[in-house]
Structure formats: C-alpha cells, structure tokens
C-alpha cells in the first residue's frame, strides 16, 4: 500500500480545519482497510477468481507453476462460480473459474477451456441399506415428495435431506443436473461446504446429501445412480451423468496477458492435466 497519510506534525494547521482533516484521514484509513480486505491485488500479477470447488486445484497448480517460474505472482481467490464469471466479464480478474456451464449470454462474451470434470456423488450413511437410486427418486427426495426411506427399500424412517446453500457452484450444478428446474424443498438442511455435508451424513443414519466425488471417503457411502456406480471409469465413459465441468474463462476478443496465457497453457498441458487427474478429477477434453 503506497497511500499512507502521515500527519504533518510540524505544519501549522488552521484551527477550524482540524476536525475535517482528521475526519478525512479516518475515512481514508477506513477505505484503505476495506480495499485491503476485498480488493484484487495490485501487484501486477495474475488474478484468478471464482468457484470454490475449483480453487483448491487451481491453488495447487499455481503453486507448482510458481515453483518452476519464480517471481510470477498468481493470486487465486475462491468466491464462487457466479462471482468468478462476473469478475472475468467485468475485467476485475483476468481469469475466472467456474464449476458450472456458462449460460448462453455468458458464453457469448467469454472464452472458456474445460480444465477437468468433476462428478457429484449422492451420499448416504454407510449403515443405510439403500445402495442405489434413480434420478427421478433423487429428484423426489430433494424436491420433498419422497420423505421416508421405506419408499426406497430402506427402514421406515424420515429422510434427512442435506443440500448446499444457493449460489454455490455445487448447488447450481446439482440443480441443473438432477433437479432440472424443480426447486429443492425448503425443509432440506443447508450446509456451507462439501465437508460439512459429509460430516452430517456420516453422523446421521437417515441423511442423504451430495458432494464432489473426489472427497467421498469411507465415512459415507456413494450411491449408484440409475444403476451406474460413481467412479472415474464411468465418468470417463460418459455413463455416470452427474458430471460438471471445471472451467477457466476470460473475456472474448481480449488476448490474455503473457502470464495468463502461460498459466492456462500449463494447466492444459501434460503436467497440469496429470496433476488434476492425480487429485481425483477426470480429464476435461472428453467432454461430450
């Protein structure tokens, strides 16, 4: 920060002007704090902002890239897909990250690359006897029409539906891929992260939720959907349908900066792609 205002201790300030000067100083200080808290970095590096689902992978790749190219500053900010797309449209960030498909009006103004794909897994407690559901059943559960496990081959207990909050990329991907225009029931619990959903489903024998396939662990059970097991093989084969793209986007008709160009190249190159696959994602280029 360059704009540090120092009080002129030796310059005589007219009495009447003292208060306003102090007010101004405090105001400037307040604004500086605000800027420091939420503004983009002004270091001249590359700013990549958007989906919190993509953020950990982008951070990992940025770290590797910067290790090989010291002095290149890449700043990754996780603010959500919509915020990332908006930032790229407005030019606030050079590159936006999205974990949902672009809407037509967005795609008109943005260039995009699919850096990888991520599958959504529908998870239940390991004690739940149910092992698979149809898309229609999942729709019914999250829409609030199916409320008890006995309609699905489970015990006669009420279903605890766990969803994400509106605005998150995972939420909009689930809405788009599963709900297809139907609203998620208001009685669904809402949690702020994949991890929180996993925690609740691991605790509650009657719970059902959806999370990124990459973070499914033995504390929960991922369900087969329309009789297709969620696995990387089935995602790659295109038989498992709950798949969302991870995108990098930037403004159309405006060439990327050399650093932006190089970073996108690195992500799409052999090393970047193999790192993403190692992290549990599926190759992006086979997008149907």
């Amino acid at each position: 920060m360059r704009h540090i205002i120092l009080p002129h201790s030796n310059s005589p300030i007219p009495r009447g002007g003292r208060l306003p000067a102090r007010w101004r100083r405090s105001l400037i200080l307040g604004l500086m704090l605000l800027l420091a808290a939420c503004g983009p970095s002004d270091s001249g590096g590359l700013t990549v902002t958007g989906s919190t689902s993509v953020t950990p992978f982008a951070e990992h790749l940025a770290e590797l890239y910067q290790k090989q190219h010291p002095g290149m500053a890449i700043n990754i900010q996780g603010l959500g897909s919509s915020a990332g797309i908006r930032a790229a449209l407005d030019g606030v960030a050079e590159i936006g990250m999205s974990s949902r498909d672009l809407q037509p009006e967005e795609a008109d103004k943005l260039d995009q690359v699919v850096i990888a794909r991520d599958a959504l897994a529908v998870i239940v407690n390991p004690d739940n006897p149910v092992t698979g559901l149809s898309t229609a059943q999942i729709q019914g559960i999250f829409g609030g029409q199916i409320r008890s496990w006995d309609a699905l081959g489970g015990p006669p207990l009420p279903i605890t539906v766990v969803s994400r909050e509106a605005g998150s990329g995972t939420f909009s991907a689930f809405e788009e891929l599963v709900m297809k225009g139907k609203l998620i029931a208001t009685r669904a619990l809402r949690q702020g992260s994949n991890g929180a959903i996993r925690q609740i489903v691991a605790q509650d024998p009657n719970a059902i939720g959806y999370i990124s396939l990459g973070i499914v662990d033995p504390t929960v059970k991922a369900l087969a959907i329309d009789s297709v097991e969620p696995s990387v093989v089935h995602v790659e084969a295109g038989t498992y349908k709950l798949v969302r793209p991870f995108l990098l986007v930037w403004r159309k008709g405006q060439p990327l900066s050399p650093l932006g160009e190089a970073f996108v190249g690195y992500v799409m190159g052999t090393e970047g792609q193999s790192e993403l696959i190692k992290a549990g994602l599926v190759k992006g280029s086979t997008m149907p």
Binding site: W23, S26, G30, L79, G80, S82, A166, G167, Q203, N206
Partner: protein
Amino acid sequence: MKERGIGALLLLTALGALIALGLITYFIFQAGVPLIARVGLWEFLSGTHWSPTSKPPQFGILPMIVGSLWLTLGALLIGVPLGLAVAIFMVELAPPRLAVLIRPAIQLLAGIPSVIYGFIGLTLLAPLVRAVFGGPGLSVLTGAIILGFMILPTIIAISEDAMRAVPLAIREGALALVSTHWQVISGVILPTARSGIIAGIILGMGRALGETMAVIMMIGNSLDLPTSPLQPATTLTSNIGLELAYASGPHREALFATGVVLFIFIMILNGLATTIFRRPALSRSST
C-alpha cells in the same frame, strides 16, 4: 503541548469508533435498501419463500425472522433461569472460597470461541437430540441449549452487579421485619435489582440474536417455517453467514437487506437495554 497531543489522539480514536459505526450503517443500508424498495418491505418481511438464485428469485425472510425469534426465545428460556440462579447464588449464598472458583469459570465461559460451542453442539448434542427425540438432531432445540449457555456470562455478570448494588439499608430493613433469607431475595433484592437484571437479559438476547458461527453449525439451516423446536431452522444471521460468500447481484443485495433488518432488531434491543439501565433502581421498588 503533550497533554493536548494525547487529548487529540484520544478524540481521534473516539471519532474513529463513531466513523466506523457510521460507515457500517451507511454501507449496509446503501447495499440493502434498494432491494427492499424493489421487492416491497412487506413482501420482504412476510414472504415465506427464499430462493435467491431461482428464476424468478424469491426473497422472503419470514422463516429466518421466525427462526431467529424461536432460537432467541429458547436460549433465554435456558439462559435466564440458569443465569439468575447462578447470580443469586454468587451474591447471596456462595462461600467466598467457592465464589473465587466459580467466577473465573464463568468468565472463561465467555472466552470460549463460538466455533467451539458450535462444534460441541454439532458433534455431541445433535446426535443426542437425534437419539432421544428423532429427527435430524440439528434443530432449534440443539441451538437454543448451546446458545443458552453462551449467553450465561452476560446475564450472570450484569444481574450480579445489579444485585450487589442493592443498598445495605434496604436489605437490613427487610431482615429487621423478620424475613427469611429467601423472602429477602425474592421480595426485596430481585425487585430492587430488576432493571439491571432486565438489561442483562436484553443484552444476552442481543448476543443470542447476533450469534452466527455456532448457529450455522447447529441449527441445520433449513428454510421451512419452523413449527417445532425439534425442526431445523435458519436465522437472519446464519443465512447471511452461510450465503454471503457466493452471493452476487440481487442475491447479495438481499443478504444486505437481511442485515438491515437484523441491524434494526439489534438497535431496538440495545436501545431498550440502555433505557432500562438508566432508570434508577430505587424508584421501582416503591410498589
């Protein structure tokens, strides 16, 4: 010269607090009021559907207002009797050596970060509530129990002060009328200290209403109008905390508008607490 310099510095600091408050107020209202104007105040407050990203979006915060009220009421139901009991014990009954032990414990209770309370609620209390009552476990009840403990230090500290401030003459007068100790407490001490106790309760209420992190973790955050304490719910604060990170456009404005409503709630509560505080305690005991 040095005196004046320090004076000016302190003035600046004091003004800083004022300016911070002013800036906060300005930014919240400036970001939230346009949406309220577009949706309509009544629609916003009484709408039962919140789906900020659907098409068309719906911005009704009634479930959150009700959730906040339920949760705050529940926390008070647990925190007030318990807090008052502790305060009475500390002032009237506790042997000094025990009081020395209890007081720091209560102060420690105030120092525990809310995320820890939330974690305890999520991992210990919620499974217990689920096992005993059924349902998801994350519920108004779970939140209210933990919140009740979170507001204890506020209620205890302020009511204790108020009770200690009761003049000795009044107490002695009551004893001289051959009152038992309990009659003195219930008939003289509590009524005399009433305004301080009520102010403590209102401040505790403000704390309960404003708590965010712990509530997000414990209450389940569903958007139904809560009709039973065993149901999950969403509060004004928890919804802002949950959704703000990803919100943009009208969604973001609606969250700031929720903040405006919350801001007004809290202002009213604080105003009440200050007014009651200022009222002299003695004038109320004459009845």
